[in-house]
């Protein structure tokens, strides 16, 4: 499903964000991507859907090469990949329904979408997606009147409406309190199981990664330093990923 080879990313004037990533993710996998902040998790996810152009290396989504593809080709690839952001990244002044419908932009007539006219079947589809993430009866409300947990579910509905093969989630629960974090992760797990959508979620909290990831990939300084099932994450692996300071705290959240 996803194949990454020799991926490198240098930001001008900054440190090397990705330093030779090789990774294969199969269809329907649920991968928890862990590492301390600055390890390269966000950059890796953004290279997967072409939001960030890598310095070197290749990314395939299915049989399509993302890296080096034309802007138009990358746009088509992105249409099949949902992206869930830490800060939700919703349009604050728009309604819940309008925010969800943004996920349909690549599927509907361009000119109609510019006029804001999606048609009743698209609206019904969006309402169904909102119901699926547990948001019924709020479609007409301005999205910034919702709580943080509800807003992240709108963002997940937006991703679902792309009818994606893959959902990438960049620290989807980092702006939420722990109880809500579980709701959001639970929702991603259900989508993964019921729809067979491949999910890669970056997390900085170890216990969430172990609870939800069926495979844990650890990044440190832009390299993959661990890759295996949740129970393979022992003290040595934790040290490789988070450094010696975090190893003693076991499954807690490293600072």
């Amino acid at each position: 499903m996803i194949r990454v080879r020799g991926l490198r990313k240098d930001y001008p004037g900054g440190p090397r964000a990705l330093d030779g990533i090789d990774l294969d993710v199969g269809r329907g996998e649920f991968v928890a991507l862990i590492g301390s902040s600055g390890a390269g998790k966000s950059t890796l996810l953004r290279c997967l859907n072409g939001l960030v152009a890598p310095t070197a290396g290749q990314v395939w989504i299915g049989d399509r090469l993302v890296t080096g593809a034309s802007a138009e080709a990358r746009r088509h690839i992105r249409a099949g990949i949902g992206f869930v952001f830490q800060q939700f990244n919703l349009l604050r002044r728009l309604t819940v329904l309008e925010n969800a419908l943004v996920g349909r932009l690549a599927h509907v007539s361009r000119w109609r979408s510019l006029a804001g006219w999606f048609g009743s079947d698209e609206v019904a589809r969006a309402e169904a997606a909102l119901a699926r993430v547990g948001l019924e009866g709020v479609a007409a409300r301005r999205v910034d009147t919702l709580s943080g947990g509800q807003q992240q579910r709108v963002a997940i509905a937006r991703a679902l409406l792309q009818a994606p093969a893959v959902i990438l989630a960049d620290e989807p629960m980092a702006s939420l309190d722990p109880a809500l974090a579980h709701t959001v992760m639970e929702l991603l797990r259900r989508i993964n199981r019921e729809d067979g959508i491949t999910v890669i979620a970056s997390l900085h909290v170890l216990d969430l990664a172990q609870a939800y990831g069926r495979r844990i990939v650890g990044l440190s300084r832009g390299r993959v330093v661990h890759d295996g099932p949740p129970d393979s994450l022992d003290a040595a692996a934790t040290t490789r990923i988070f450094g010696a300071a975090a190893a003693g705290s076991g499954a807690g959240a490293p600072a």
């Binding site: 859907n49 939001l51 746009r75 088509h76 690839i77 992105r78 249409a79 099949g80 990949i81 949902g82 992206f83 952001f85 800060q87 990244n89 919703l90 349009l91 604050r92 002044r93 728009l94 943004v102 996920g103 932009l105 690549a106 361009r110 979408s113 510019l114 804001g116 963002a155 937006r158 792309q162």
Partner: protein
């Protein structure tokens, strides 16, 4: 800044203030001597002359019309200028060019433009409209450009991530962030322009100011009072309505 430097700054400020007060012949004694004349001026205005209300209302409506057309045209002209003058939507040469142009034209106020346009196209409301257009365009372009620079990149990236086209990203990621603010700024300028247009008549550029000034010049104080009362009511109504609408926009 050092302690000594700060003291020097305060002393310099005080010196400039005193120097300016002396140069402008500020005098408490003359203010007190003037009080009876102020009272006399106000007394002559009472009671206001209701027979000129028709003229005053016609002038007031024309003032609002000047503000409407002037602000409307300026809002359209300010759009491209606003994008040109925003650091994040414009190449450096255009950005600096547009910023400098706006700063030059904004340095002069509406009333001065009115003098210029009255000389150019003659008396009446039209030079007033032109004056409002020129000044308001520069102010709105500046406000628009600041709103464009303050745009949140996150939602824009999110719309891009759905596979949307450039135009769709603009329509769904950028426009929803800007339009309510643009409308709010434009309404705010409209409020200010009603006040500005009210005195444009003093230099022959139409509106209620023409009547206020004419009656004062004819020493017809009760008529001037009627015109002034209409002006005050007009400004209050516009401010109230406009701020109510603006509160709902943001």
């Amino acid at each position: 800044m050092s302690r000594r430097g700060r003291w020097a700054g305060w002393i310099a400020l005080a010196a400039v203030f005193v120097w300016s007060a002396l140069s402008t012949e500020v005098s408490l004694g003359r203010t007190i001597e003037g009080l009876p004349f102020m009272w006399d001026f106000i007394r002559r205005m009472v009671p206001p002359d209701p027979s000129v209300l028709g003229n005053a209302l016609r002038g007031a409506i024309q003032t609002v019309q000047i503000a409407i057309v002037g602000t409307g045209v300026a809002a359209v002209l300010a759009l491209p200028l606003g994008f040109a003058a925003a650091r994040n939507s414009s190449p450096a040469w255009l950005f600096y060019g547009a910023r400098s142009l706006l700063n030059v034209f904004r340095a002069v106020d509406t009333l001065v433009y009115a003098l210029f346009f009255v000389a150019a196209v003659g008396l009446g409301p039209f030079p007033g409209v032109l004056a409002v257009v020129v000044y308001t365009t520069t102010v709105l372009a500046k406000l628009y450009s600041e709103a464009i620079e303050a745009i949140e990149p996150g939602p824009v990236e999110a719309v891009r991530a759905t596979g949307a086209t450039q135009l769709q990203v603009l329509r769904w990621g950028v426009v929803p962030q800007l339009v309510p603010q643009f409308l709010s700024f434009t309404l705010y300028r409209f409020e200010t322009n009603v006040r500005a247009a009210a005195i444009l008549g003093f230099v022959g550029a139409g509106g209620i100011g023409f009547y206020v000034q004419t009656y004062l010049r004819l020493l017809n104080y009760p008529a001037a009072a009627s015109a002034l009362l209409v002006l005050i009511a007009l400004v209050m109504i516009i401010d109230f309505a406009s701020s109510r609408i603006r509160a709902r926009l943001v």
